[in-house]
């Protein structure tokens, strides 16, 4: 059946379409080329006066894995005020900072998102993470597997193993964990924390293995590049949240020597030590470095004011932060020496100097990075704020006067330390479409997502333009997922199942021999149980795998 979406104003940056009136055709879940006779369409939806974009993609949102469940269990008081009743087509749950799986899918879809990616999946916990994400309806999912503090890799580095062997290990782990990309969190630091180190700077040696974060970063970045993984190494750098970490971040950018790198929640890594309070914005220097280095992309991890929960693999940083927990409780975990996690509830306050400046730093980075193809819109859900705050964030980026009004309510000392008030840039709809659709899809290698060209998946969002951009983006008129109308007027109308995106880089299976010996000696599971089969994702009747081919290295 052919469906015609006629007359909408289309923003499709991947195909260079900037606010042009176009007809979009859908057939069998894909975008179809225009037929010779438009009247042959069985369904015609008149979208004149509406804005049409591809479904939005969140490249960094914590929606699956042990830490999210811990966060849910830790905060019953956060769920209480936000119950999600069942309807005839949707299931019940709870919302706010760490929503239940079903509510996560509904609320993302109701905002026009059609794909979301969990950025911190422990290899040993991949099965649970995928099972949990399988429970999230409507949206497509995928995950980045965490390496860099795992015992096996650190042993390889300490023993001086070759890059080729490390590439094989990385490729094996991506395949076994059914991942789409690789993330490194506080390289080596999570492991060093377990050896009683409380910080690990870029060139500081791990007390036990004798390797440095710089070595780990460079080796993994090279592995990801040589294996042809489309998304660059996803880096949560050293010294998250520490004043002065801007120097570490700049050294990280320089140290990667031109290899592609994605620096995630960069806002938390852009702090200087100027001023009376020894806490200042490093946004201008970071943005300058990003602008000068085309191999670098970033997502911001914007904070928003209010209660949230921080859930991170960086147990070293979370240990540091736990004194600021609100409410006063936290959890720190380790799994199989693979890595770990820390969960710390947090309330960001606009009248608190540090929080106010963090808010301003995030926005400064958004506005100072020139190329929207290399800066993605995230709050590092739920660490900076729940993903439901995205429409508010979009308004802050698109509406300077609104931004300045908000800025004027901040702690006065934070206002003095920020240049935000002088930044006049306002994002256009085209740029928003880039940073929320086209750029994440391109970065992740999702060739049929994030655009509206013929052959793409028919993931489409339709908005009514409104001067209040928050109002516009929080309630789309229509959302199509794989050609099915799933949201109308901001409400779920149909529940479908999204797919899981994964990658299969080639590798020499000889690595499995040493891995098998390692597992038999040290791990609580066998290598064959560590591997997640396709059937485990597909066989519950809701899962579907989309296997991507790597970029030619």
């Amino acid at each position: 059946m052919l469906t015609r979406l006629s007359g909408g104003t289309v923003y499709d940056p991947m195909n260079g379409v900037n606010g042009e009136q176009r007809d979009i055709y859908i057939r069998d879940g894909r975008i179809a080329p225009p037929p010779a006779d438009p009247e042959t369409a069985a369904v015609n939806l008149d979208l004149r006066g509406k804005v049409v974009m591809a479904g939005a993609i969140d490249p960094h949102t914590h929606i699956g894995g042990g830490k999210v469940n811990i966060a849910r269990a830790l905060l019953p008081e956060d769920h209480r005020p936000d119950p999600v009743p069942r309807t005839t087509i949707t299931r019940s749950g709870v919302g706010h900072a760490a929503p239940s799986t079903q509510a996560t899918g509904y609320r993302y879809a109701e905002m026009g998102y059609t794909a979301c990616f969990e950025p911190a999946m422990l290899p040993a916990n991949a099965r649970q993470a995928h099972m949990e994400m399988a429970d999230i309806p409507i949206i497509d999912k995928g995950a980045y597997v965490m390496l860099g503090s795992d015992d096996f890799l650190l042993r390889m580095l300490a023993a001086g193993k070759s890059q080729r062997e490390i590439n094989d290990y990385v490729a094996f782990t991506i395949t076994a964990a059914q991942a789409l990309a690789v993330k490194v969190v506080n390289p080596g630091g999570i492991s060093a924390f377990k050896f009683n180190q409380r910080s690990l700077d870029l060139d500081e040696k791990h007390a036990h293995y004798g390797v440095t974060p710089r070595q780990i970063l460079h080796t993994l970045a090279r592995a990801v590049h040589e294996l042809g993984v489309p998304h660059p190494l996803h880096v949560h750098g050293c010294n998250l949240g520490v004043p002065g970490n801007v120097e570490t971040t700049l050294k990280t950018i320089a140290g990667v020597e031109g290899l592609p790198l994605h620096l995630t929640h960069i806002q938390f890594h852009s702090y200087g030590t100027e001023g009376d309070r020894k806490f200042s914005s490093g946004a201008a220097r970071i943005a300058g470095a990003v602008n000068r280095n085309p191999n670098i992309s970033v997502d911001v991890g914007q904070i928003m004011f209010g209660q949230t929960v921080t859930a991170s693999g960086d147990s070293m940083a979370q240990y540091r932060n736990h004194a600021h927990a609100h409410p006063k409780k936290w959890v720190c975990m380790d799994i199989e020496c693979d890595a770990g996690c820390g969960v710390v509830p947090f309330r960001y306050r606009h009248q608190k100097f540090v929080n106010a400046l963090q808010w301003a730093i995030g926005l400064e980075i958004f506005l100072l990075v020139d190329d929207p193809w290399r800066v993605f819109l995230t709050t590092d859900h739920p660490n900076g704020a729940p993903f439901t705050s995205y429409p508010h964030l979009i308004r802050l980026l698109m509406d300077r006067s609104f931004r300045n009004e908000c800025f004027a309510t901040l702690h006065p000392d934070a206002q003095k330390m920020s240049t935000l008030g002088s930044l006049t840039r306002e994002y256009s709809l085209y740029e928003i479409a880039i940073m929320t659709r086209a750029a994440p899809a391109k970065s992740l290698g999702l060739t049929d997502r994030g655009h509206l060209g013929a052959g793409a998946a028919a993931d489409i969002t339709v908005y009514t333009p409104h001067a209040d951009r928050q109002r516009m983006f929080e309630k789309p008129d229509y959302v199509f997922k794989d050609g099915e109308l799933v949201v109308k007027n901001g409400r779920i109308t149909r529940v479908v199942d999204g797919a899981t995106h994964t990658l299969r880089p080639a590798y020499d299976r000889g690595i499995e021999k040493s891995l098998r010996e390692y597992f038999d000696r040290y791990m609580t599971m066998r290598l064959d149980n560590f591997r997640l089969s396709d059937a485990e994702i597909e066989n519950d009747g809701r899962g579907r795998l989309i296997v991507h081919r790597g970029r030619a290295a």
Binding site: A73, L75, P76, E77, P85, R86, R91, P327, K329
Partner: protein, 273 residues
């Protein structure tokens, strides 16, 4: 005529009724009250689906019927009086700030969890976790009074920080577990391991109790504040014997794992005349 909500359809599954507080209904018309949202199981419902609403609030709101499956009655209430003619469900007066809730029947678990002020009176029995912290939380009730004429279940006053819990009958195991401060008066007996992990505060009972080995005997004495409390409870209609007011109490300090700053007072029955 005061405002009355009479249960006309019994809920089939537990129902969450945070709308049924004095604050929410006091200034509304009957039809507006009937339209207030409830959560029946996991489905949205309205007050009018289950209750017949009549009258207007004149300082009091009356709820009639067996509300044993209705949770969060009076949650967050800050003023006025809520009178429940029948049983009340779990989480009665959760995080309540002020006003008074009177239950002419029994109440479920979690009476007044994390309440900040006001008074809850239950003429019958209450379940477990009276005045406690929510699971995952560390601080229980921070103020106000919970008066239970009957018995209470386990973990009464878990993590409580201030206020008064008075129980006319027995209190279950772990009474005052992890309490930070405040007073628990169990006029009947105390269950096992009362005061485990208590930091400060007082637990009082008129019956002998088997205490943890981390509590140590201090002295026998007649604390003045206890007389005032008992007279106050008598004023509230609790059966307080003269001998308790005049009597001597054995003081035990503990929990020694938390530096012995709390106390358990047990009526010295040997010295009763």
């Amino acid at each position: 005529m005061s405002l009355t909500l009479a249960l006309r359809v019994a809920p089939q599954v537990p129902m969450e009724a945070e709308a049924l507080t004095f604050d929410r209904v006091a200034d509304l018309s009957e039809s507006d009250i009937a339209a207030l949202p409830l959560l029946h199981g996991n489905e949205k419902a309205a007050v009018g689906d289950f209750f017949k609403v009549s009258g207007r609030a004149n300082g009091e709101v009356h709820l009639e019927g067996d509300l044993g499956r209705v949770k969060y009655l009076g949650a967050g209430m800050s003023r006025g009086r809520l009178v429940i003619h029948g049983n009340a469900g779990m989480h009665l007066g959760s995080a309540m700030i002020g006003g008074e809730i009177l239950v002419k029947g029994n109440a479920g678990d979690w009476v007044g969890p994390e309440m900040l002020g006001g008074r809850i009176i239950i003429t019958g029995n209450a379940g477990h976790m009276v005045g406690s912290a929510h699971r995952g939380g560390t601080i229980g009730m921070r103020g106000g009074e919970i008066i239970i004429h009957g018995n209470a279940g386990n973990e009464t006053g878990n993590g409580m920080r201030n206020g008064l819990i008075a129980i006319g009958g027995n209190s279950g195991d772990f009474t005052g577990v992890n309490m930070r401060a405040g007073t628990i008066m169990a006029l009947g007996g105390l269950g096992w391991r009362s005061g485990a992990g208590m930091v400060r505060g007082s637990i009082v009972s008129m019956q002998p109790a088997e205490l943890l080995p981390t509590f140590s005997y201090d002295c026998d004495y007649r604390p003045v504040y206890l007389r005032l409390y008992l007279l106050y409870l008598r004023e509230l209609g609790m059966a307080v014997e003269d001998a308790w007011i005049e009597g001597e109490y054995r003081r035990y300090s503990g929990d020694s794992v938390e530096l012995n700053r709390g106390e358990i007072l047990l009526l010295n029955r040997q010295k009763l005349s």
